[in-house]
């Protein structure tokens, strides 16, 4: 193998090199440069006309040292974390059921999960608002069936978390499904015999086998959920303000793009740190198991 690998791998690198160059070029041109702009602007100021202007001031970063902002950060982190946990709890059973018992209807079922996401997130969230309002369909149903006097669903933290899950759970289901579907499911059956229980099997067989997908799913749910602002705006209450709302406000009503940029840079650094910690933790686990 080693003898024939040499010339082939030389060919390999150049192909992979080209493969990397084009998308990297794109990302550099469009994305990296726009991030550079944001970083540069974070040191800027606002002219009296309200225009953002480049400068070399650290005032925006100093303004971030505020316990209110820290509280928002923690709150957003907790909401996003809750959304991730609930998404995982939903994704595995759903993905497993479809992969294992879907049979001929597998693709149809997956399609059935994805189709709603084409009906506009905003419109669906708004429908929830109508459904869950104090005099909406759900509460009317609860009252007329005598189950309850009416529950306050909207404008609560759980409404926001529920909205986040609703919006992002598909990002968890699809990768895990793709991974589970490739898996030899008799492995899991064997695991059940070995570990004498579905829960232990789950943690000892299923999760390790789908680790990369789980990792991808966690990222795809946590990161956008953390920076989300629409859910809190539509379904949230007086005390559910998230970091995403704060950033949005700086770019809109607050008319302070430099401060918004500084917040974003801080946010990205914080999330990058979290990601590195997460990466280290999960790869250590992988090595140990």
């Amino acid at each position: 193998m080693a003898v024939s690998a040499q010339p082939r791998s030389a060919q390999r690198t150049s192909l992979w090199g080209w493969l990397l160059a084009v998308p990297s070029g794109w990302m550099a041109a469009f994305f990296v440069s726009s991030i550079v702009i944001v970083v540069l602007l974070s040191f800027g100021r606002t002219t009296n006309d309200g225009f953002p202007a480049f400068a070399t001031s650290t005032a925006n970063y100093r303004a971030l040292w505020n316990e209110v902002y820290l509280e928002l950060f923690v709150r957003s982190f907790l909401y996003a974390l809750a959304a991730v946990v609930i998404s995982v709890l939903i994704a595995y059973p759903v993905a497993y059921t479809i992969a294992r018992h879907g049979g001929r209807y597998k693709n149809a079922l997956v399609a059935a999960i994805v189709v709603p996401f084409f009906a506009s997130y905003l419109i669906r969230m708004y429908a929830w608002k109508a459904l869950l309002s104090d005099d909406g369909a759900v509460n009317s149903g609860l009252r007329s069936s005598g189950l309850s006097d009416g529950v306050t669903f909207l404008n609560t933290p759980w409404a926001v978390i529920g909205g986040l899950v609703y919006g992002y759970v598909v990002f968890m289901i699809l990768p895990i499904y793709a991974s589970l579907e490739r898996l030899d499911l008799s492995l899991i059956e064997a695991g059940k015999d070995l570990y004498h229980g579905p829960v232990r099997t789950f943690f000892s067989v299923t999760v390790p086998a789908t680790r990369p997908a789980l990792f991808g799913g966690v990222l795809l749910v946590f990161l956008p959920a953390f920076g989300d602002f629409v859910t809190a705006q539509l379904l949230g209450g007086a005390s559910t303000y998230m970091i995403g709302n704060l950033v949005q406000q700086q770019f809109m009503e607050g008319q302070n793009w430099p401060l918004g940029s500084a917040m974003t840079v801080a946010l990205m650094v914080a999330l990058a740190v979290l990601m590195v910690v997460y990466l280290r933790a999960t790869s250590t686990q992988a090595r140990e198991s």
Binding site: T13, S14, G17, L20, A21, S24, G25, A28, A29, V32, S33, V36, I37, L40, T46, T47, N48, D49, G50, F51, P52, A53, F54, V68, Y69, E71, L72, K129, A130, S133, D134, D135, G136, N139, T152, L154, N155, Q233, G236, G237, A238, S239, Y241, N245, L246, Q249, Q250, F251, M252, E253, G254, Q255, N256, L259
Partner: protein, 375 residues
């Protein structure tokens, strides 16, 4: 070997782009240093069709039938874009997008004019000009546009409180009602910096545009004290009330009329009050950007909308008064049931209008609003 070379080449490329970006950008249309402000006003266009109309406005702000009628009568298309805030509108204008007609709120007319972003609108070009610019009309010299050179008035509205008469019986006709005990947990405040700060300012007896640190501090404390009564900050007043979530809602007058007349199943359950401490009065206007490609069509469009029959149709859709002289009696009919919603043009002469503020003043107010919402 190749693995070592490529990253450095790529990082050079990236570095180069970054440098280029930072050098090029100060010259960019958006980022500027304090710009000169007294440019000569681009002259008014003649009211004749010169292409399709590129229209930029709030969503659902004109009756679709009226817009359609314009398209059919003049054989042009109306290409619509929407914004959800004045700041959003401004960002697109500053970026250089070429709209033919925009709908700024009064203080933004001041700002756009000052920055030379508008062109003149000559009433003599409009056949229906005297519907709004009749002798003695306030709009000949509105506070936001001296000599009425760049704008034509669109609507006028006030902000008050809408409430559920079947849930709350202890309303006092004051802004204090947004701290009502009966409605604890069912109070809503508008998700709008200017409106929320103005409401608190009026309650404390301050100017609605105040940016004084001491006054802002009091406003902040007052608004934070509201949180134990407050269910949410939301501008979706109609649905919050109709859906049963809100019993007392900081509300715009036109929205209340729309709800009462068009949406609510039992209109008697709702009432509106304009608190005694004073209410913010606001107005918006038509304006034509200086870089518009079809200003002629825009002029024709404004003229078309000033026709009383179209103004009446728009009022029937939006429930906000259009100060079109021959259409005003129709509006009086609409507000007959809810006189508190009525807005007189003379109201614009009062002090409670949102004025243009300097960037540092806006930021002080924004900081207060942020802390209120985040705490």
């Amino acid at each position: 070997m190749t693995g070592v070379v490529r990253p450095s080449r790529r990082s050079l490329l990236t570095g180069g782009m970054a440098l280029g970006a930072s050098l090029a950008l100060p010259g960019c249309a958006y980022i500027r240093d304090d710009a000169p402000t007294d440019a000569p006003l681009p002259p008014s266009a003649k009211a004749e069709i010169d292409g399709d109309l590129i229209y930029f406005n709030w969503a659902d702000y004109l009756a679709p039938k009226v817009v359609k009628g314009f398209q059919e009568e003049y054989g042009v298309k109306v290409i619509e874009s929407n914004f959800d805030s004045m700041e959003g509108m401004y960002a697109k204008l500053a970026a250089g997008n070429q709209y033919d007609i925009v709908f700024p709120i009064a203080k933004w007319v001041v700002k756009l004019r000052r920055e030379g972003k508008l062109r003149a609108i000559d009433p003599a070009q409009l056949q229906n000009a005297e519907q709004v610019f009749y002798p003695g009309s306030y709009f000949n010299e509105p506070w936001y546009d001296a000599g009425s050179q760049v704008s034509v008035p669109f609507t006028v509205y006030k902000t008050g409180i809408g409430w559920r008469t079947d849930k709350v019986s202890s309303m006092t006709g004051s802004w204090d009602d947004l701290w009502n005990d009966e409605a604890r947990g069912h109070v809503f405040t508008l998700d709008d910096q200017d409106e929320a700060l103005a409401m608190a300012a009026l309650l404390l007896g301050y100017d609605v545009n105040t940016a004084k640190a001491s006054e802002l501090e009091e406003i902040k404390k007052l608004l934070i004290s509201q949180k134990e009564y407050l269910r949410a900050y939301s501008s979706d007043d109609i649905n919050n009330l109709v859906g049963g979530d809100a019993w007392v809602h900081h509300m715009w007058s036109g929205d209340f009329l729309y709800m009462k007349d068009g949406v609510a199943e039992d209109p008697t359950k709702f009432d509106f009050q304009a608190p005694s401490e004073g209410v913010p009065i606001n107005s918006d206007a038509y304006a034509i950007p200086a870089n518009a490609q079809h200003p002629g069509t825009a002029m024709v469009f404004i003229d078309y909308l000033l026709r009383p029959e179209n103004a009446i149709k728009n009022m029937g859709y939006l429930y906000y008064p259009f100060p079109v002289r021959d259409a005003l009696p129709a509006f009086a009919e609409l507000t007959a049931d809810a006189p508190a919603c009525n807005v007189e043009i003379s109201d614009l002469e009062n002090e409670n209008v949102f004025r243009l503020l300097g960037a540092d003043e806006v930021q002080r107010r924004a900081a207060v609003w942020t802390e209120v919402k985040a705490s």
